[in-house]
Symmetry: C2
Subunit: 356 residues, 2 copies
DNA sequence: ACCCCCCTTGTAATCGATTACGCCCGGTGC
DNA sequence: GCACCGGGCGTAATCGATTACAAGGGGGGT
């Protein structure tokens, strides 16, 4: 059916070895032969069978990408960045959506290993996973993205929100808030843990109280954010500001407040995490902590390729940036303070990641 | 290095043929042998090499997906739906982002064919493409999604917005609008052409004028929508309503109006296309034409598998639904009309696609 | 008791590339 | 003029599975 090296060899009047050499650009072929081979390949419409090549070379030029939720703008942007970077290096990406379920994740890992991907990029779902240990044991190159696992030694690239979160708390306090609630993610995820911890220490640094009732746990989905907002707003003494640690949960919070007719920015403050394009179009535009997604994706690929080619790699922690807009009452005649004078609400900090 | 059938065969004391048969669940193996083989495979941690299998069977259980823009929520949702459906059928998907560039698309096609994908799912970029003809000529199963090409015979699955657009125009007219502008996509795309055409006929049906100055062309990106909005609002006689035919351009329109301090819904009406979750969170919530994305993705996979296994497939046209919210002035004491009485603004029509 | 059939199993070819190895030939150094 | 060296090329092994074909063996029918 399809044209093979043998066909090309026959037409060019040479051996399959020469065809392979000529086409792969290896040396050890005369210019004359190379020319004849290229012409024959062209004439026959030869298209190398990478399946056969992979079998022989044990390289598939493919990486497996497992993310928890493609529809989450953060992850779809991440997937985009990763595909882009991989493509630039001649790698293809097999996309897998673990749906935050360990079983699915493990099934995909198994699948990808059977497909002999050259490496694995993933945002792990939960703490323990037999499939993951198998990967590590077999020495398959792997890099974690956005989340790491305490129990595993794999290199990670992710963004540390601690600094930006501390700035956010300062910002809120400067705007007069003291009763600030947080909606965090599952404590089995580093992001969920770390962002909560960062928030806690920032509050403590400002000598503010953070009672348990103001700490809520979601699952990174919009609806869990909405439910958390319901609980918070139904409190005897509701918070004056709510901080949600991912974009979907922020969406849910926004939705619930809107439903109750609360004016965000004046009646109550909302701060979010991540920065999809539409965050600035909400009313009011959202103040948020933004992650350097593009750089993270590119770095993930670089690290994985290094793991594939060189061996060991070290982890990378990137910084997040606080993007101040209007959802925390910045426009509502804020108290005159040092910080608010130096960060006027209408001066949106430029995202300096070089992304987008 | 890795465990192979030969290793399993040796340990189980049988031939490689028996191993293959036992593990693939084929009949013609005794229960005893099957048991021994499974045990041996288990003990050795055998993981089949699908590369070798694919070489032999000429099936890769892989489909190639080429979309123009992963970051567009419409396409990322589509990609999600497709991956989901493919996975259910035991197929993996290689994700490619053509970035609306023909060269990139063609490069990806070439790549995917070299990888011997079992089929191709794509949203084609432009009218003509040599790589695409090559696919067709070679008989590689292919299904177009969301866009079709007049010059090619491949089956398509997409959503026809005509009916919903006509309803939208009715809706706008009932709210008192007559000077309605449209921001459409490249006329090289079916969607761009069809939606404009549908809008034109709907306007004509209502005997409304649609001068050229009210027809603008974007490229499906937010910024092109913003620029079109600038031009429209700078007109001597600006429109009272603007309809943008995809979600990103709608975003741009929204942005520009917000920038000018226009109150959407009262000063000017905006209607969009697609329905990402945050459309209902904008202020005001957007009235929009929504596509059955999930069903489209599932259908695309079904069609492709049928093309792979059976042969020919026929195209499918799905219907869009008008989702009425508040961005067209629905809450602003609309004129009492038949339609507005029967479609009160606070009664959001349920999305009956069964998605999400 | 004999034969035939079918079920089970093994041997080896096969998919399409890459590549180790060896041959041949021309050129160079002595 | 002879031996050696090395570049160019072909032959055939190889990657790891699937599968066509053949062969062996047990059971049932007559």
């Amino acid at each position: 059916m399809a044209v093979t090296v043998a066909d090309v060899a026959r037409r060019a009047g040479v051996s399959t070895a020469s065809v392979s050499r000529a086409l792969s650009g290896a040396d050890g072929v005369s210019a004359a032969v190379r020319e004849r081979v290229v012409a024959a390949a062209q004439a026959l419409g030869y298209r190398p069978n990478t399946v056969a090549r992979s079998l022989r070379t044990t390289r598939t030029q493919t990486i497996g990408l497992i993310i928890p939720d493609m529809v989450n703008p953060f992850f779809s942007e991440l997937a985009w960045a990763i595909e882009e970077a991989a493509h630039e290096h001649g790698y293809s990406v097999i996309l897998c959506n673990a749906n935050e379920e360990t079983d699915r994740q493990d099934g995909y890992i198994e699948l990808l290993l059977a497909r002999r991907v050259d490496g694995l990029l993933l945002t792990p779902v939960l703490e323990e996973s037999e499939a993951l240990r198998a990967v590590a044991r077999q020495g398959v190159p792997m890099v974690f993205v956005d989340r790491s696992l305490a129990s595993m030694e794999a290199p990670v690239v992710r963004a540390d929100g601690s600094l930006a979160i501390s700035q956010l708390v300062d910002h809120l306090v400067d705007l007069g808030h003291e009763r600030i609630a947080v909606i965090t993610g599952p404590q089995a995820t580093v992001t969920g843990r770390e962002r909560l911890a960062a928030f806690r220490t920032a509050m403590r640094a400002r000598s503010l109280d953070l009672p348990d009732e103001l700490v809520r746990f979601g699952n990174f989905q919009a609806d869990s954010g909405r439910r958390a907002a319901v609980e918070l707003l139904d409190l005897d003494e509701p918070p004056t500001a709510v901080f949600a640690i991912d974009n979907l949960m922020t969406l849910g919070v926004f939705q619930e407040m809107r439903r109750r007719g609360l004016r965000i920015g004046s009646d109550i403050a909302v701060a979010g995490f991540d920065d999809p394009p539409w965050f600035q179009l909400l009313d009011p535009p959202l103040t948020t902590v933004s992650q350097p997604v593009t750089r993270m994706g590119a770095l993930a690929v670089d690290m994985l390729l290094e793991a594939i080619n060189a061996g060991s790699v070290e982890s990378h922690l990137l910084d997040c940036a606080l993007v101040i807009r209007e959802s925390c009452g910045e426009t509502a005649a804020p108290r005159e303070t040092f910080r608010s004078r130096h960060m006027p609400p209408d001066e949106n900090p430029v995202n300096d990641y070089g992304d987008d």
